[in-house]
């Protein structure tokens, strides 16, 4: 009788587990990786759009309902979503995604964050993230760590499909490794090239491919440049002979154009997120697009 009951329970559990995992990602990059790992066993909703500033997303009430039904919440952590995610989770009243629940994934886990302040920070330095720079998904190698984290979570919550998730992880990693080698080769001739960015959003990308940050247009994280700062910045950037100004498409163009022109560099708007433009449909096409753009720009300006 006991065995029968056990088997019945097991059968019921397995049937229940057939339902798709309902996954909510804060930004589309996390959602894109979740889709590749989860395949048709998960339903993924991303809150932010790839075209917007991930620090300043509206806590639209419809997301309260989305989070209320979620089995998994994927957040970037390192204060990426601090300005809008807490009230949504609060309103969602869903035990599965509370901070200590297995369904709550903080993707920065296991990633070596750049720009972790070595000394004390205060807000006169701008909106410095005390845990480090949260834009880590712009290094494709970090994509592997993120995918690994997601595979672990999906397998724990849906053990029946663990093999499936593991196989997808393997596929994802193999593809990404091949791609990383490709991108590295494409950017190899430009190693050490100095570039300017608007916010510190490309730091991980630059480090991965050996490009060097000559300076940022923002005077401090989250602080808009004043005219006097821009005037002082230009000669400093000129001295570095920076050749590219890389900005996210949503940043103000005027100042960036002015700086690029003044230092004789090329202005290159590049998406930092999946969905940033219509060509960037998944995680690896984000790099396909950006690498191709950079190579084209540097080839021309030679």
């Amino acid at each position: 009788m006991k065995t029968k009951l056990f088997l019945l329970t097991l059968a019921l559990l397995t049937t229940n587990a057939q339902a798709k995992l309902n996954v909510v990602a804060t930004i589309p990059d996390f959602g894109a990786i979740a889709e590749e790992i989860g395949g048709d066993k998960v339903k993924v909703t991303s809150i932010a759009r790839g075209t917007e500033d991930a620090h300043f997303v509206d806590a639209r009430p419809s997301y309260v309902r989305v989070l209320n039904q979620a089995d998994v919440l994927i957040e970037g952590g390192a204060e990426l979503e601090i300005g809008w995610l807490p009230p949504l989770v609060n309103g969602a009243r869903n035990g599965k995604i509370l901070s200590d629940a297995p369904g709550h994934v903080i993707l920065s886990r296991g990633i070596r964050l750049l720009g972790v302040p070595s000394g004390p920070v205060d807000r006169s330095m701008g909106d410095v993230h005390p845990f480090g720079n949260p834009h880590y998904w712009t290094d494709p190698a970090n994509g592997k760590i993120m995918a690994n984290n997601l595979t672990e979570t999906f397998s724990r919550l849906d053990p029946v499909n663990a093999v499936f998730y593991q196989a997808n992880l393997k596929k994802f990693n193999e593809h990404l490794d091949k791609k990383i080698a490709e991108w590295t080769k494409l950017l190899e001739p430009y190693r050490g090239t100095k570039v300017v960015t608007y916010h510190k959003s490309f730091d991980y990308f630059l480090e991965r491919f050996g490009l060097e940050l000559a300076g940022t247009i923002e005077s401090k994280p989250g602080v808009e440049p004043s005219p006097s700062y821009v005037n002082a910045l230009i000669p400093r950037l000129k001295a570095t002979s920076a050749r590219l100004v890389m900005i996210e498409p949503y940043r103000p163009r005027k100042t960036s154009e002015y700086v690029a022109q003044a230092i004789g560099a090329k202005l290159l708007p590049l998406p930092t997120s999946v969905g940033g433009n219509e060509k960037v449909k998944d995680y690896s096409s984000l790099f396909d697009y950006n690498v191709a753009q950079i190579v084209a720009a540097l080839k021309d300006s030679r």
Binding site: D58, L98, A141, Q166, G222
Partner: protein, 464 residues
Amino acid sequence: MAGAFLSSAKARAAESVADIEALKQELRELRQRSDLLERKIEQLDRSQQPKASTNSPALTQPGPLPTFAAPEPSKPWRAADPIKVVGSAQNYMNLSFDGLVAAGTSTAKDIERLQLGGHDPKQRGFTVQSLETVFDGKVDPYFRGQANIVLQIDPEGETTIEAEEAYLETMSLPWNLQVKAGQFFTEFGRLNPTHPHSWEFVDQPLVNGRFLGEDGLRSAGARLSWLAPTPFYSELFWTFQNSQGGTAFSFRNEHGGMPFLGRPAGDRGVKTLGDMLVVPRYATSFDLSDSQTLMAGASAAFGPNSTGQQTDTQIYGADLFWKWKSPHQHAGFPFVTWQTEAMLRRFEAGAFPGQGVLPALPQETLTDYGFYSQVAYGFRKSWVTALRGDYVFPEHKGLYEAIAGPDPDRASRWRIAPNLTYYPSEFSKIRLQYNYDHRNSIGDDHSVWLQLEFLLGAHAAHKF
């Protein structure tokens, strides 16, 4: 039938055991392969890049470029590893302090009657509107807690303290329920449950001041809310609170011994459940498009008032909020918001036999209306301009007004207020506002207010 079912379950169980074994094997192979691959790539990296230059300001850790995956698969990440993640630090309580001060002047001789909000600037010169300390955090696995303690310096220079809010809130009750209990702002309309520093204007809308009181409607009690299982956001709130005191303005409020709506207001105590304040609210929201959101709500507040033994007050409200935010927003800009609230108050004023200079009055029902509508336009990063219109008016003059003359607490008045706000950062703001006031019995007045806000401590999260 059942046997077939069980045997298939048995087979499935056996399958899953085999699966797990296969999985383990596969995982082992995968790890070995990725280890190998990583080492190869690392070698490749090193041979191609003998000296990685890392003197860029972005890199805090000098040395060779990192390998692909920071943690080796053979050495999994452990909680003790020195990696900074959110939550790795203790986080028992967030602490923040918000200072809100104003300076300005007005042509009104009675500024304290012109401005209806308790935290509004209401004297020429400087006003310390609100010095708010906020504590919040997770209490335990079941509750979240928050306390807002507000200091204020009144026109006499005295510092007053208000325990504005102190409540706990459940985090994951079943059936989509949530309970909030303690002292808190009543869930009525859109503006009432919010704190002055989050408002788009220097002062409170007239209708809020006239019906819900200078400090807003708040009291000790409990709120139950239910998130409906609809495809769109839809939530029902049921608030049950004490009905007495200055923060239950139109209810059991003795008005400091002064007559209210022509009659003295005395305490009648609590005898039945009907003597409590009951506030139902329904709120819903739709995403009209990728960049537009609409939120609508309907509220009502029912409770006894102090002008009689059987007299009640009913306040009804409707609110609408629409927001457009660019799908290419940079630091939250540009955006446009439109917010409107309309309210109706039905006040049953008790009969009064007359006393001293106060004449005898019959029982009567006094109905008042009011609304405000405001538009805010964040036209470029850090800059917001806004315009608000206010109007409050009575349905008809009260009988007591025929005897004692028009009551300024009911007389028609309107106000137009444009302003401009500059946010040097997310943590400070400077606002300049002009008010054009028209009061039917008094006349026109002009006021100019400059407001300054600063926030210290925990990063604020913004509710929609």
